[in-house]
């Protein structure tokens, strides 16, 4: 492990505003415990998440990405979550091509009422990624933090654009 690199994996949760983000909020309100190394980014819909958003996260050095959208059939924008699932599969294919474990990326579906499920998903991803070790593209913590902050800002801009 390089210097200035934390031992815990850094996982980004790309969350839909209408379900997973609310579920994460509920998990907090319920005082449920889940791994603290997950960082939540809020998007207006998982359909707003492009393949290059996910790839950018890996390029910036995160160890894992989970995309959490509404239950199938329950998307606020009808089929954003279905598109997101296809994009996730396509990004996995790219990751496989370049030699990064595709298991580092996964799509989940849940409703806004499922706070405990959100906590479970985060634990599941953490349990999956921890044994894989740090991403081969992992950067030192300061660079990674700056990258995540930039992605968070971009996601916020997407929210503002999407809710006008």
């Amino acid at each position: 492990m390089k210097k200035n690199m934390s031992r815990k994996p850094v996982i980004l949760a790309f969350c839909c505003h209408y379900c997973a983000y609310a579920a994460a909020d509920m998990a907090g309100s319920m005082r449920l415990s889940y791994p603290s190394n997950v960082r939540v980014l809020r998007f207006p819909c998982t359909g707003k998440i492009e393949e290059n958003h996910i790839l950018a996260a890996f390029e910036k050095g995160v160890d894992g990405v989970l995309v959490a959208g509404c239950l199938e059939g329950g998307c606020h924008f009808l089929e954003g979550n279905l598109r997101a699932r296809k994009r996730v599969e396509r990004v996995k294919q790219v990751l496989r091509e370049i030699g990064v474990e595709p298991e580092r990326l996964e799509m989940f579906n849940l409703s806004s009422a499922e706070g405990p499920r959100f906590a479970e998903i985060v634990k599941e991803m953490n349990n999956r990624i921890t044994p894989l070790g740090p991403s081969p593209l992992r950067k030192d913590d300061a660079v990674l933090e700056a990258g995540i902050a930039q992605m968070d800002m971009e996601a916020q801009l997407a929210i503002q654009g999407g809710t006008k």
């Binding site: 290059n52 790839l55 390029e59 790219v94 091509e97 370049i98 030699g99 593209l137």
Partner: protein, 230 residues
């Protein structure tokens, strides 16, 4: 339109791994529509390439991306002229024509293809493109009820169908429509099936691409003294 698909990332990486600074250039026309080499794909391929280079211990190779309106016409490449000077190689995400247009425009620079150009075709359904035209230079679609036997029949049969037509599909693949069945259906709808019984004359292949690069010349449009290049 021209349909293409992306090369595997390791193949592109191996082409550029010995360069220092590489510009990935998307094209805003056909390959944008077929989701292979537009602005979005340039971003995806650029990101994947940077990661792939880093994992291959070639992280010092810088990869930037941009997209221009059209790569197959010199006037549209003007916008790249200055920027291209900063790079020692270009990966073109255009069709083969675009790649070669960039190579002609930048003689001292390495230009590589990022896509495999497939065919002239159309969108069949979302995410599915099918070949429709073989650019043979001697179109006979009028005779064949708008279905091209050269591009769409596995045997290029001008007098068909063959014995391999099964329930409207070609014996080559159950996913391939029999061009002659399609022709027959259209002829029947027009009540002109008997015209398919006439023996068709052989194709004039002299117009096809077996004699080097073909040219189309419009003398009236040529500027005096600037006719076709030899």
């Amino acid at each position: 339109m021209i349909v293409a698909d992306r090369k595997k990332i390791p193949e592109i990486r191996d082409m550029i791994k010995d360069h220092k600074k590489v510009l990935l250039v998307g094209c805003g026309t056909c390959v944008t529509v077929c989701l292979a080499g537009g602005e979005r794909e340039a971003g995806i391929i650029g990101s994947a390439l940077r990661m792939s280079l880093k994992l291959a211990d070639r992280g010092t190779v810088a990869v930037d991306e941009c997209t221009i309106e059209r790569q197959c016409e010199d006037a549209f490449i003007d916008v790249l002229a200055q920027r291209a000077n900063e790079y020692d190689a270009i990966v073109s995400l255009a069709c083969g024509a675009g790649v070669q247009a960039l190579a002609e425009r930048f003689p001292g620079k390495a230009v590589y293809p990022g896509l495999n150009t497939q065919f002239i075709g159309i969108l069949e359904s979302q995410g599915v493109w099918t070949e429709k035209c073989a650019a043979c230079g001697s179109c006979r679609l009028g005779q064949y009820f708008g279905i091209c036997p050269i591009a769409r029949c596995a045997k290029r049969q001008l007098n068909g169908p063959c014995g391999g037509s099964r329930n409207g599909k070609c014996e080559v693949s159950e996913n391939t429509d029999c061009a002659w069945q399609l022709m027959y259906d259209r002829a029947k709808a027009m009540d002109k099936v008997q015209t398919l019984e006439a023996i068709a004359y052989a194709q004039d292949w002299s117009t096809s691409n077996d004699g080097g690069a073909r040219k189309v010349v419009r003398e009236d449009q040529c500027i005096a003294g600037m006719g076709p290049k030899a």
